[in-house]
Amino acid sequence: MSPALVPARPRLRTFVATVEDVPGVLNRVASLFRRRGYNITSLTVGQSELSGLSRLTIVVACDDATAARLEANLWKLVDLVEVHELAAGEAVERDLALIKVKADKTTRAQVVQAVELFAGRVVDVAPDELVVEIAATRERVDDLRRVLETFGVVALVRTGAIAMPRAGVDDPTRTQSQSQSQKSASGT
């Protein structure tokens, strides 16, 4: 039976990809997801430890078969150096959020207390609202957001997850990219 017909058990998966830092590379990754109908939860891109290479964190909800094909499709991108799925529990994952929340004289103390409970920080204050920052797992950010909604969330902005394997865990995302950087260094 086709995998498409197996009742899909989608779960959130995190892929980390190392790509060349060239114009259009993000577009290529995004285009692949759009064209093949994958549903991206978040996609972030930024520098890596290697010059000329960027690192992407992609969170996507899909089943096992779809994940395998997604990875195979990513490998086909010419600008991609490598891609790996991070095993749940073996990765450190952070999502940064800024939340503007209503807080006046009567509620400010409660808001601040809630934020501290989540190890967030208040980064800006006005008489009737605050801007709160939190860098945590996606679930914890969701939790704080739910709590703050009881006071009134005015605005929210999130980066989407960035992730890497935990300290001490064999890092599959670095092996090949390092040899790659040596390759470019030797000019071949």
């Binding site: 078969a65 490998w75 086909k76 490598e82 390759k183």
Partner: protein, 599 residues
């Protein structure tokens, strides 16, 4: 062969200096093409690519001036399909580049290695909506294997070299290099011998092969009673025809082909069944549905091949061999996957399999073949009417199956696949994945340049031929010979057939009036013939073959004929609409559609 064999040697020997030194971007384009062994490019000039054209006469690359850039793209594609080498087309920015798009998508869907070069406005104008500026790398992103925008002369050489590597390695495909006018005009130091300038594409792990795949595959093959090989385009692309033959001879398994796989295994071989899928012959699709093992080699289980996935090959275990791991499990779940070049895989797999004969299985298929033959259009009494199937069958006989046949898209394409028996790889050039009407004539021109010593035939519909008929003028200007058979039924036949079968016979926008194709040929300084009876055919074909230049033959065929069998879109592969049995034959239980397939 005719005396009009294409002169491939470009007129003048290279006058350009090959020593290291200063070069313009424009010069490096041609120098790299020469180094890549490109003997011909198909193109059309314009403002943003003029510096490149200005440098062209210094190099030993022949340029073919097309009449529409779509034609250039199909020519490059046809060149690549007929030869296995990389085809090259070149166009200007904006409308020149967008005119290539249909041809690029056609090459992409069938994994054809081509390099498309487009001019772009100067780098300082990019993003300003400058005259004839189009975001061509954006437009072609999803229809190329990769593309590049080059804005500096120094990048022209390395990027073009990389482009050739990417186009032909792994699963092949089209690539596009968009080069700004200032990058063509600028200059830099260039050492043609310095191969290190080429950026090496990243290595790719060969993943997706199941553990012990070869042992398990051989074991499955050995125990199978009704194994069936599904031979795809991958066999042709990998040059694995000899390996496939050895595999068949050892395992005794019969071979069904995809449209693009035709010729990868000789059609006249006793183990060859023919094409499978929507217009596959009945015995082939029945064999798929009855098989207990499918061995899929370099094919991708396209929906035109499988029909309804839920009921596809219900009794079969599946082994899937493909170079592209993203194809594994895409449409059909498989028991064993081997991700590698099919030539290598077969070489390793064949000796592991036990020699076998599969006599009962072969006999069972032969029985069904006999049943189908009574419906075969070739058995129809000669009423003097001309049937497309007759035309194609006769062309096959008269050309001894040796021609490179380039088809367009429609009914005639399916009849070609059914009635022209391809014994040789790269003997059929056809747009499978995209099904692009207008493909045939320009692709045939490309094929002609790739195979100057082979006879090239176009088989096109009256509709599709008119889409790119302007390239007749290219044939005349270049002095090349192709033979063109227009299967003229006065309709967009394939759409008419669907209207007849699924839309209550309402022929909306499918009757088509055509120009006088004989006069059209003559207007181009070419030769035209008309054939209305089967009895006239042989003499006209002989005249066409011996004429020195391009010949157009207008075959006036039955207007409302249909392609049979047909698996309606999305239906079960076993549910075929069969050709109504000729009335002179009494329908017997043996050839009734309702007859249960013996299990």
């Amino acid at each position: 062969m005719s005396s009009a064999t294409v002169g491939l040697t470009a007129a003048a020997a290279t006058t350009a200096d090959k020593a290291p030194g200063r070069r313009t971007g424009a010069e490096m384009i041609w120098e790299v093409l020469e180094q890549e062994g490109v003997d011909v490019v198909f193109g059309y000039p314009g403002g943003a690519i003029m510096p490149a054209y200005d440098a062209l006469p210094k190099y030993a690359v022949r340029h073919v001036l097309v009449r529409h850039e779509q034609g250039a793209a199909h020519m490059a594609d046809g060149y690549a399909r007929a030869s296995g080498r990389v085809g090259v087309a070149i166009a200007t920015s904006g409308p020149g580049a967008t005119n290539l798009v249909t041809g690029i998508a056609t090459a992409m869907l069938d994994s054809i290695p081509c390099v498309f070069i487009t001019g772009q406005v100067s780098s300082h104008l990019i993003g300003t909506d400058g005259f004839q500026e189009t975001d061509v790398t954006g437009v072609t992103l999803p229809i190329t294997k990769h593309n590049w925008l080059v804005t500096r002369a120094a990048d022209v050489g390395p990027v073009l070299r990389e482009a050739f590597v990417v186009a032909r390695t792994g699963r092949p495909g089209p690539v596009l290099v968009d080069i700004t006018k200032d990058a063509q005009q600028g200059s830099c130091d260039f050492d043609p011998a310095d191969r290190r300038l080429a950026r090496v594409p990243h290595g790719r792990p060969a993943r997706g092969t199941s553990a012990d795949a070869y042992e398990r595959a051989a074991a499955l093959i050995d125990v199978a009673e009704r194994p069936l090989i599904l031979a795809g385009h991958g066999i042709v692309q990998a040059g694995a025809t000899a390996e496939l033959m050895a595999f068949v001879e050892r395992t005794g398994a019969p071979v069904a082909s995809t449209l693009l796989g035709l010729g990868g295994f000789p059609a006249t071989h006793p183990r060859a069944l023919g094409m499978m899928g929507m217009h596959g012959e009945a015995w082939v699709n029945r064999a798929v549905q009855e098989a207990d093992l499918l061995i899929a080699l370099g094919m991708r289980f396209d929906d035109r091949v499988t029909g309804n996935l839920k009921t596809y090959a219900p009794r079969a275990r599946k082994i899937h061999v493909d170079l592209d791991s993203s194809e594994i499990g895409k449409n059909v779940a498989v028991d064993i996957a081997i991700v590698d070049d099919v030539k290598r895989v077969l070489a390793a797999l064949t000796p592991r399999c036990k020699p076998a004969d599969r006599g009962p299985w072969i006999a069972r298929i032969a029985n069904e073949k006999g049943d189908a033959a009574v419906r075969d259009i070739q058995q129809l009494p000669d009423t003097g009417k001309l049937h497309a199937a007759h035309v194609i069958h006769d062309l096959w006989r008269l050309t001894e199956g040796r021609a490179v046949v380039v088809t367009d898209v429609g009914q005639h394409q399916m009849w070609e696949a059914q009635y022209y028996k391809h014994d040789h790889a790269r003997g059929l050039v056809t747009s499978g994945g995209l099904g692009t009407m207008g493909f045939a004539l320009p692709a045939a021109i490309g094929a002609r340049f790739a195979r100057p010593h082979d006879e090239v035939w176009v088989i096109a519909g009256d509709g599709g031929f008119q889409m790119t008929a302007a390239e007749l003028s290219t044939c005349a200007q270049e002095g090349i010979k192709v033979n063109i058979a227009i299967i003229n039924n006065g309709y967009l036949g394939m759409v008419r057939q669907w209207q007849e079968m699924f839309y209550g016979g309402r022929y909306v926008a499918t009757p088509m009036r055509s120009p006088d194709f004989v006069k059209l040929a003559e207007a181009h300084g070419l030769t035209g013939f008309r054939v209305t009876k089967r009895s006239e055919l042989a003499a006209v074909v002989a005249a066409a073959r011996s004429a020195p230049g391009t010949v157009v033959i207008d075959f006036r065929v039955e207007q409302e004929d249909s392609v049979y069998p047909m698996v309606p879109s999305g239906a079960d592969l076993g549910d075929m609409i069969r050709r109504p049995a000729p009335s002179v034959l009494v329908e017997t239980a043996a050839d009734s559609d309702e007859d249960e397939v013996p299990r």
